[in-house]
C-alpha cells in the first residue's frame, strides 16, 4: 500500500469512518499513523479525563467533529455529585486557541457554562452542529449566543439537559439570515417560549427536518408550525392538558395529514388522549415513537394508537400499556428493533395488575423477529420466561432488565434468576450491553464470564454473593469496557486480582460495595496509569491523612478509569484522587 502516494492512501482512509477501524489503521505503521491522524475529522472521547485537549489537538489537527463524555453513567440516577467535574470549558478554550476548524460538538453528561457557549459561538466560523445530552450548568443566555453568532448552524439538539430558563428571547437571536436549520430540539426547556419567533424561524428554515418543542408550545401554535413545515420527519410535541375543542382538533389533524414525511414522534407529556388521536392519519408511517412521558394517556388509548403503527422500529413507552398492550405490539410491529418500557408507578401505590410482567416480554420476543435492543422495567420475572426469550431472540445486542424490587426471585419458583440470565448470554452471542436484576447469586456471573464474549458494558445492582462473582466477569469478558456495580458484596479481592485488566477497560464504578479505602489505595499504588477516585459527600474528609484504622473503612463510591494524563486538577472537595 505504501507504493501509493499519501493523498491516495488518505482518500482510501476517507471511506473508513468507524472509530474502531480508524484506530486500528493508525497502528499499522508510522506512515499510516501519520496519514490517518492528519486526515482524521471525527474523534470520539468516551471519558474526557482520559486525555487532555492539548494532546488531542496535537494528534488530530484537522479535527472537525468532537464527541466528549463526562460524568459516569450512574450520574443519571443521582449517584454522582453535581460538582464532580466534566467541564467542557478547557476543551473549548484549547480548540479556540489552536484555531481548530470545529464544526460539530457532541457532549454527554458534561458541565457547560454560558461562558463556554459564548466562546464556542465566537471561535469557530464553520460551526454547524451542537448536541448536548444530559448536560447542565448553562442558561438560555448561552443558547442566545449560539443562535446569534453561529452563522452556519444547522443543528441545535438539547436532550434532557438541566437548563436554567431566563425567559429571554433566545429564539429571537437567530438572525433573519439564518435559514440552514435542519434540526432544532428544545424540549427540555422549562420556561416560556416566544411563539412568534419560533414560527418565524421555522417558516424560514425549509430544510428543517427535526423539530422538538417544549411544553410551552400550545396546540394552535403547533398546528401553525406543522402547517409551515410539512417536510418534517421528526416531531416532538408540547403538553396539552385539556382536550382540544372540535375546531382546533380538525385544524391540527389537517396540518398533520400534510406531513407525509413524518416518521418519528415524541413529547406528549401531560397530553390529553385526544391529541394523540390527531396523529392517526400518519401513524402507519411512523418508525419511531416515544411516549415515555405520556403518563396521562391510559393503556387502552395507547393500544388503539399503536395497533396502526405497522412500521414501527423503535418504541419507548410506559408500563401502563400492560401485557395486553405488549401483545398488540408483538402482533402489529413486525419491524420492531428497539423497545423500552419504563415504570409509571414508583410507589407501588396502584397495586395494579395492569403493569407489565414476564408475559409481555415473552410476547414481544415471540412476535418481533428483528428485536435487538430492549430496556424493560417490570415487577416480576421468571427463569422460564427468560429462557423462552433467549430462544426466541438470539439477536439481542442490548438486554437490560430492571425488576423494580431488588433481590426479587423468580415469582413462580422462588429461585434466583441465574438460569434465566444465563440462557440470555448463552444464546445471544452478539450481546454488547447487559443489565441484570432480581435475585442473583455468583452463578449468573459465572455464566456471563463464560458466554458473554462480546459484552462491553455490564450494569449490576443488588446481586452476587462473594468476590468470585466479580472475578468471573473480569476474567471472562475480554471485551469489557464499562463495568458499573452498586450495592453488591464485591470487595478488595476482586478489585485487586488483576490490575492490568483495567488497562483494557474505560472505567469501573463501584458504589455501596465492600471495597475499602485500603484496597483502593493499594490499587492506586499498583496502577499509576489509573485515576482512582473516591467520592464521599458526607463529612469533611481528607482521605490521605487517615490513619491505619480507617483503611478498613468501606468506600462509599469508587470510580476508576485509565488515563494518559494523570490525576485531574479540577476535582471538588468531595472527590479524592488516590
Amino acid at each position: 500500500m505504501n507504493y501509493f502516494p499519501d493523498e491516495v492512501i488518505e482518500h482510501i482512509f476517507d471511506f473508513i469512518s468507524s472509530h474502531k477501524d480508524r484506530n486500528s489503521i493508525s497502528l499499522v505503521s508510522k506512515s499510516w499513523h501519520k496519514i490517518e491522524r492528519c486526515s482524521r475529522k471525527r474523534v470520539f472521547i468516551g471519558n474526557c479525563y482520559a486525555i487532555n485537549p492539548e494532546r488531542l489537538i496535537e494528534r488530530f489537527p484537522s479535527l472537525r467533529s468532537l464527541t466528549l463524555k463526562g460524568k459516569p453513567h450512574f450520574a443519571d440516577f443521582n449517584l454522582v455529585p453535581h460538582e464532580w467535574g466534566g467541564f467542557v470549558h478547557p476543551w473549548i478554550v484549547a480548540l479556540a486557541k489552536a484555531r481548530v476548524g470545529l464544526q460539530e460538538l457532541r457532549l454527554k453528561r458534561m458541565v457547560v457554562s454560558d461562558e463556554s457557549l459564548e466562546l464556542l459561538s465566537r471561535s469557530f466560523a464553520s460551526f454547524k452542529s451542537l448536541v448536548l445530552v444530559s448536560c447542565e450548568g448553562f442558561t438560555t443566555d448561552g443558547l442566545a449566543s449560539v443562535a446569534a453568532n453561529c452563522r452556519h448552524l444547522r443543528e441545535l439538539d438539547l436532550q434532557e439537559n438541566e437548563i436554567e430558563d431566563h425567559r429571554g428571547q433566545w429564539l429571537n437571536c437567530f438572525p433573519e439570515s439564518s435559514t440552514a436549520l435542519t434540526s432544532l430540539n428544545f424540549s427540555c426547556l422549562k420556561g416560556e417560549t416566544n411563539l412568534a419567533a419560533l414560527e418565524r424561524l421555522v417558516a424560514r428554515s425549509p430544510n428543517l427536518e427535526s423539530l422538538k418543542v417544549n411544553r410551552a408550545v400550545p396546540l394552535d401554535a403547533l398546528t401553525r408550525l406543522m402547517s409551515c413545515a410539512p417536510q418534517l420527519v421528526d416531531l416532538g410535541v408540547g403538553s396539552y392538558e385539556n382536550e382540544p375543542d372540535q375546531e382546533s382538533f380538525m385544524k391540527l389533524m389537517a396540518a398533520i395529514k400534510k406531513c407525509t414525511e413524518l416518521r418519528s414522534l415524541s413529547g406528549f407529556s401531560e397530553v390529553a388522549p385526544l391529541c394523540l388521536s390527531a396523529f392517526y392519519p400518519i401513524c402507519q408511517n411512523l418508525t419511531s415513537l416515544n411516549l415515555s412521558y405520556a403518563a396521562e394517556i391510559q393503556g387502552n388509548h395507547l393500544i388503539r394508537f399503536i395497533q396502526f403503527c405497522k412500521r414501527l422500529q423503535r418504541l419507548w413507552i410506559l408500563d401502563s400499556i400492560g401485557d395486553k398492550g405488549l401483545e398488540v405490539v408483538a402482533s402489529t410491529c413486525k419491524e420492531l428493533q428497539e423497545l423500552r418500557v419504563f415504570p409509571s408507578d414508583l410507589h407501588d401505590e396502584e397495586d395494579n395488575d395492569t403493569a407489565v410482567t414476564e408475559i409481555g416480554l415473552v410476547a414481544i420476543s415471540a412476535g418481533c423477529p428483528k428485536l435487538h435492543s430492549i430496556l424493560y422495567f417490570c415487577k416480576q420475572m421468571t427463569n422460564a420466561a427468560l429462557i423462552t426469550v433467549a430462544k426466541n431472540c438470539p439477536n439481542f445486542i442490548r438486554f437490560r432488565l430492571c425488576i423494580l424490587e431488588p433481590n426479587k426471585p423468580d415469582h413462580t419458583t422462588s429461585q434466583s434468576l441465574d438460569e434465566g440470565f444465563g440462557a440470555i448470554v448463552q444464546a445471544c452471542k452478539g450481546l454488547r450491553r447487559l443489565s441484570v436484576s432480581g435475585l442473583l447469586t455468583d452463578k449468573v456471573f459465572l455464566y456471563i464470564g463464560m458466554y458473554a464474549e462480546q459484552l462491553e458494558m455490564l450494569s449490576i445492582a443488588f446481586a452476587g454473593d462473594t468476590d468470585k462473582g466479580m472475578l468471573y466477569v473480569l476474567n471472562g469478558c475480554k471485551k469489557m469496557r464499562k463495568l458499573e456495580i452498586r450495592d453488591s458484596p464485591f470487595g478488595n479481592a476482586a478489585l485487586l486480582a488483576d490490575v492490568d485488566k483495567y488497562r483494557t477497560m474505560r472505567s469501573l464504578w463501584m458504589s455501596s460495595c465492600e471495597v475499602t479505602l485500603g484496597g483502593c489505595k493499594r490499587l492506586a499504588r499498583n496502577a499509576p496509569w489509573l485515576n482512582v477516585e473516591i467520592i464521599n459527600e458526607n463529612e469533611n474528609n481528607d482521605l490521605m491523612e487517615r490513619n491505619e484504622e480507617d483503611e478498613r473503612e468501606k468506600v462509599d463510591r469508587l470510580y476508576l478509569y485509565r488515563t494518559v494524563v494523570g490525576a485531574r486538577k479540577d476535582a471538588p472537595p468531595c472527590v479524592t484522587i488516590l
Binding site: 443519571d76 440516577f77 438541566e162 414508583l346 410507589h347 422495567f377 431488588p406 426471585p409 450495592d487 453488591s488
Partner: protein, 158 residues
Amino acid sequence: MENSNSYSPYSSSSVDSTKPSPSESSVNLSLSLTFPSTSSQRETSQDWPPIKPRLRDTLKSLCLRQRRYNTALFVKVYMEGVPIGRKLDLSTFSGYESLLENLSHMFDTSVICGNRDRKHHVLTYQDKDGDWMMVGDIPWDMFLETVRRLKITRPERC
C-alpha cells in the same frame, strides 16, 4: 458498624424460599437508601429505580395530581329508615350543588344542606374521625378528603 452480609438474604448454596420478614429487611435501612426494603417500608429513593431525572419528575407530579384528583371516590349513601343504601362516586360532582341535585333525583325527594327541620331531608356525612357532620360547612375539596359516608336524615317529627 458491623459488616454483616446484608445484601443477599439468601445464601449462595441453597436458596431459601422464605423471604425475610419486613422487620428483618428494615434493619438494613440504616445502611442508607441504597438498600430499599420491601413494599410497605420502602422509602422513595432518589437513585432507585434507575430512571432519568426527567422521567422521575414527570411521574412524581403525576402521582401528586392523581392523589388530589383521585379518579374514583365511592361512598355509601343511606336514607334514614331505608335499609338499602346506594353507592356514589363523589369525584363526578363539581360541588355541593350538583351533589344535592343528584341525591334529590336519586332518592326522589328534595335533599338540602342545613339544619334539621320538619320539612326537609338534610344531608349529613361521617368524616374520617367517625363523627357525623353537616354537609356544606367546609370547602368542597376538603370535604372530598374527609368524607367517608353520607346519610340523608328524615324530616323531624314533633
